[in-house]
């Protein structure tokens, strides 16, 4: 269902490689399964023709890979950025995490990516092949003779259903048409949880977070979690903790992780996308974003380079921590 085609992207990548503008291309490559698209660095046209993938499963946000990859090459690296990726791109620039001069960013439109969990919910396990074809996704499984046709719209990832922007906020070159910032209902889910009783909230999160296996996928995919060394891996931090021993530590990890990215999180949704346990981690981040918007005024991380994140800023008239609850209770 993507408007831009694989051929267009390959043409662009190959021409930029050949005219020497860039020396490497950061793109989506084949993974173990068709839906398991993997961020890959391509260095030659042949590699690209053979391995470049573009379909409804190319959700990966490449911004964070620039932190490591730009350090490894002399020249420029080409990166394809979907609209939501550009926010992370800007946020990382704000934090001086990579050298803008070493990147050639091509903005590409995105019609929303598919969620493999939703596909599996329709087709079951044992998926052997997937073909994206226009509005439909053809899923071949080990157990069915005929491919199952799924409507791409029905298996759209949550973050794409609640897409916040189809506008690119950073690029060197734009392929396809520019979109607009979208009015999304992304905070509805958060509001729903807020409306629960404390006991219900606790039960909800206990249920969700107890599934955490501390694989650190959320951390490793997150464009805001690009620390040289994570506090949870640092013996001097006092909270070193590689694997959770009980339910507290899962919470500790996720609260601290969300806190550390609060004000910096662009709400790209990578954490929830990569979570093998399907924990709705974005609901933690969005809670912070919602609170920050309500307490300190609307703020979109990454909308512009150099903006000051709300938690490293203040005004003398800020809301008191205690008033936060009064305000919510009177609104309820």
């Amino acid at each position: 269902m993507q408007k831009i085609t694989r051929e267009q992207l390959i043409d662009k990548a190959v021409s930029l490689l050949e005219n020497g503008t860039v020396e490497a291309v950061l793109g989506w490559g084949k993974g173990e399964f068709d839906y398991d698209v993997t961020p890959t660095v391509f260095k030659t046209a042949d590699e690209i023709n053979a391995g470049f993938v573009w379909n409804d499963f190319c959700g990966a946000n490449f911004s964070r890979y620039l932190v490591a990859k730009t350090g490894k090459i002399e020249g420029k690296i080409l990166v394809f950025l979907k609209p939501c990726d550009t926010y992370s791109f800007n946020q990382l620039l704000t934090e001086h995490r990579f050298d803008r001069e070493k990147v050639y960013a091509v903005g590409i439109p995105c019609e929303g990516m598919a969620d493999i969990a939703k596909v599996k919910a329709v087709c079951g396990e044992g998926i052997s092949a997937i073909n994206c074809d226009g509005e439909k996704i053809a899923v071949t499984t080990l157990y069915d003779d005929e491919p199952i046709m799924v409507d791409a719209k029905d298996v759209l990832a949550e973050r794409c259903v609640n897409c916040k922007s189809k506008k690119h906020v950073a690029y060197d070159e734009l392929l396809g048409e520019e979109g607009e910032v979208v009015d999304s209902a992304r905070f509805d889910e958060v509001a729903k949880i807020e409306a629960m009783t404390p006991d219900e909230r606790f039960a909800f999160w206990q249920n969700e977070l107890s599934r955490c296996i501390r694989c650190n996928a959320c951390r490793d995919a997150c464009p805001a979690c690009t620390c040289e060394k994570c506090v949870f891996d640092n013996p001097n931090s006092g909270v070193e903790n590689k694997a959770p021993a009980n339910s507290f530590e899962e919470k500790m990890f996720h609260i601290i992780r969300a806190f550390h990215v609060a004000g910096r999180c662009t709400d790209c949704g990578e954490c929830s996308r990569v979570c093998p346990q399907n924990i709705p981690l974005h609901l933690l981040n969005r809670k912070f974003i919602k609170d920050i918007n309500e307490f300190y005024g609307e703020y979109q991380a990454g909308a512009e380079v150099g903006s000051r994140a709300p938690l490293v800023d203040y005004t003398t008239g800020d809301i008191e921590p205690g008033e936060v609850f009064d305000r919510r209770d009177t609104n309820a």
């Binding site: 350090g71 490894k72 704000t94 934090e95 001086h96 995490r97 690009t226 620390c227 040289e228 060394k229 994570c230 506090v231 640092n234 001097n236 931090s237 006092g238 909270v239 550390h260 990215v261 910096r264 000051r308 994140a309 938690l311 490293v312 800023d313």
Partner: protein, 664 residues
């Protein structure tokens, strides 16, 4: 592993009355690292301190815990004790078992229980303490004063008198500032020039003071004690050291139609000029915007008449680099623009003037030689209306003017009104006020004299509108006490314009990493206790750059700033607070979060090369804390997501150890 000694103080019965001190010292004996534990009646006494010293020597202690009164009381005492016994003073921790235990709890059981827990927390912390030494940095014994008004002059004189060299940077061709433009000064009515110009001469003659006039600061690097400053000396096209200030050039200069900024444009000067007779340095300056020689290459008259041969049309801007130990900001103020206040017809009529223009009009050295006349027709004004609070005390939502009270206007308006009535008794003077604010020595008496002895009409109310009509100014105003609307035909309207910080202050603050409030006034390190210091160490504030001030207040603040500077320069070395932040460069992301929350500008960044495990090298941006500037608040440690930033003496691991000990 540490070898820790625990010393429990009875404080007479202050502690021992509610805490079983014996039980506390026994219980703490078993804590990890503790090799010695005792208790004594008064630990802070000489005998008590000797117990500590002896134990340090005898048991080879590496750290001590004193369970006693608040660390705010005796931490310094016990640190000295430890240091005297050869132990690093920062290996001492205090468990506060008096103010926060024995004094607030009544029964022995809970008191003892809590004291033990507090002791355990202190032991847990000491286990992670490391010896700390305060960093030292040298002090360049030279001060920079930015701004050469009365604030800068007084600061420079006071510093120079203490024997330290001072440089004054002034952007105008002469020092003197606003005070040089004033006529008389309240509340004593002595003439401003009579008290200011001797000081200016003192500055010129003081061997410790250098004046960089017609200059500005363009770059500031470094930190307290060690600032590297670049000063741009604008080309004045006159050799300063040769010019005698005789004034022959200014007389002969054919270009005489240059608005005279010293008289606020009320008369003209020549293209080569000396701002006023008592200017310091008394050196001519060529205005390149008007000089025909510089603009068209034709004329050169001034060079011909200059007997000293001081004129140099080829002079270029000059950059001077100098090192300073301290910087004093004295950038002063300006009246705000009247453009947004159409109702007062300032831009429509020459006879509506600001109070500073009024000062020039009544000044004997001013454009009218001190004769109070209307700027439009030179006639003597018979009715003068003074309007107070023009642009002061405006709400932010009114979108013009300033929110604060400009503080000086009530008094100078009383002065103007009084002087006018004194010199021209035939003049009717009206002052429209909202409140008259006279908190100052002899201020209210002064104001009352204006009313009672000099017959100035003070009217509570505001002028709503001024309309020029013929040669009159129709003033429409309200009299709130009489509940009437007044219509006055005035000859002259004087506006007490609000004052604002000089425009150069904001870029300067950025250079100095000194903070400012929303009105661009410099912020103090503490509004009550450190009013002449900026939060940025080594930067001091003098005069109206910190907030509206009259002359006596400015001079006293200038002296205070000077004494702070002298205190700093008198030291050979600066000993910092050792409990400062430091960044672990291996973990630092270089994301700038810490820099953004640092109130002192103590954090900078540098690119550093790192060897990677695969033998390649990588250049990364990492944070570096300047220990001489850091004050140790710890804001950066929480802003840092990776935990690279930590605070010595209050390290994360130490605080967590305390939490753990308390929550066991």
């Amino acid at each position: 592993m540490q070898r820790i000694g625990v010393f429990v103080c009875w404080c007479g019965s202050n502690i021992a009355g509610t805490v079983d001190v014996q039980a506390v010292s026994e219980a703490l004996k078993n804590e990890p690292g503790v090799v010695f534990s005792t208790n004594y009646q008064y630990m802070c006494s000489q005998a008590g301190q000797n117990i500590i010293k002896d134990a340090i020597a005898e048991h080879k202690l590496t750290g001590i815990v004193v369970c006693s009164c608040s660390p705010r009381m005796h931490e310094a005492t016990f640190r000295k004790t430890a240091a005297a016994a050869g132990l690093n003073p920062y290996m001492v921790e205090i468990a506060n078992i008096r103010e926060q235990c024995s004094w607030v709890h009544k029964d022995m059981l809970t008191g003892t229980e809590k004291a033990i827990i507090l002791g355990k927390a202190a032991v847990a912390k000491v286990n992670l303490n490391t010896p700390l030494t305060a960093g030292e940095s040298p002090v360049t014994k030279r001060a920079l004063v930015i701004g050469g008004g009365i604030a800068g002059i007084q600061t420079a004189l006071d510093i120079a008198d203490a024997g330290f060299p001072v440089d004054i940077v002034e952007k105008k061709p002469t020092i003197g500032g606003k005070m040089a433009q004033l006529d008389k000064t309240f509340p004593t009515l002595d003439c401003a020039a009579c008290i200011l110009t001797p000081k200016m001469v003192d500055v010129a003659q003081n061997e410790n003071i250098r004046i960089f006039s017609y200059s500005e600061v363009t770059e500031v690097k470094g930190f307290v004690g060690n600032f590297d400053v670049t000063i741009k000396k604008h080309a004045r096209f006159v050799k300063e050291d040769i010019c005698t200030g005789c004034g022959a050039c200014t007389e002969k200069c054919p270009m005489k139609k240059v608005p005279n900024e010293f008289n606020l444009g009320m008369d003209n000067r020549s293209a080569i000029y000396i701002p006023f007779a008592q200017a310091v340095p008394k050196v001519a300056t060529i205005d390149p915007n008007y000089c025909n020689m510089l603009k068209k290459g034709k004329c050169g008259l001034c060079a011909k008449v200059c007997a000293a041969g001081a004129i140099d049309y080829t002079q270029k801007d000059e950059y001077i680099s100098e090192k300073y130990g301290a910087i004093v900001v004295a950038t002063g103020f300006n009246p705000i623009s009247m453009d947004k206040f159409d109702e007062f017809a300032y831009n429509q009529s020459k006879d509506v003037i600001t109070s500073l223009e009024f000062e020039r009009l009544t000044n004997a050295a001013g454009p009218t030689a001190g004769k109070l006349v209307r700027p439009s027709d030179g006639k003597h004004p018979h009715t003068i209306v003074f309007v107070q609070c023009v642009g002061s005390r405006c709400s932010a939502c009114a979108e013009k003017g300033k929110e604060y009270c400009s503080k000086i206007c009530c008094m100078y308006t009383a002065k103007h009104a009084m002087l006018t009535r004194d010199k021209y008794p035939d003049t009717e003077v009206y002052v429209f006020y909202i409140d008259v604010r006279t908190p100052g020595k002899n201020f209210d008496e002064f104001y009352r004299r204006a009313v009672e002895e000099f017959g100035v009409n003070y009217i509570k109310g505001m002028v709503g509108k001024v309309t020029p009509e013929g040669d009159k100014l129709k003033v429409q105003a309200s009299d709130l006490i009489a509940n009437k609307q007044l219509h006055i035909d005035a000859d002259l309207v004087v506006l007490a314009a609000a004052i604002e910080p000089d425009k150069s202050a904001r870029p300067l603050a950025t250079m100095l990493t000194a903070s400012m409030d929303t009105n661009d006034f410099f912020t103090e390190a503490h509004p009550k206790l450190r009013p002449v210091e900026s939060p940025t160490a080594g930067v001091f504030l003098s005069g109206a750059c910190q907030g509206p001030k009259d002359i006596p207040e400015t001079v006293s603040q200038a002296g205070a700033a000077a004494s702070k500077v002298i205190g700093l320069l008198a030291k050979d070395k600066l000993t910092g607070n050792p409990c400062v932040a430091h960044s672990n460069e291996l973990m630092c992301n270089g994301c700038s979060s810490c820099e953004r929350v640092c109130p002192y500008g103590a954090i900078s960044y540098e690119d550093k090369e790192f060897r990677m495990p695969d033998r390649t090298t990588k250049i990364r941006r990492v944070a570096v804390v300047n220990p001489a500037v850091c004050q140790g608040c710890g804001a950066c440690t929480v802003a840092c997501p990776s935990g690279a930033m930590d605070l010595k003496g209050f390290a994360s691991a130490q605080i967590i150890a305390e939490v753990d000990a308390i929550c066991k």
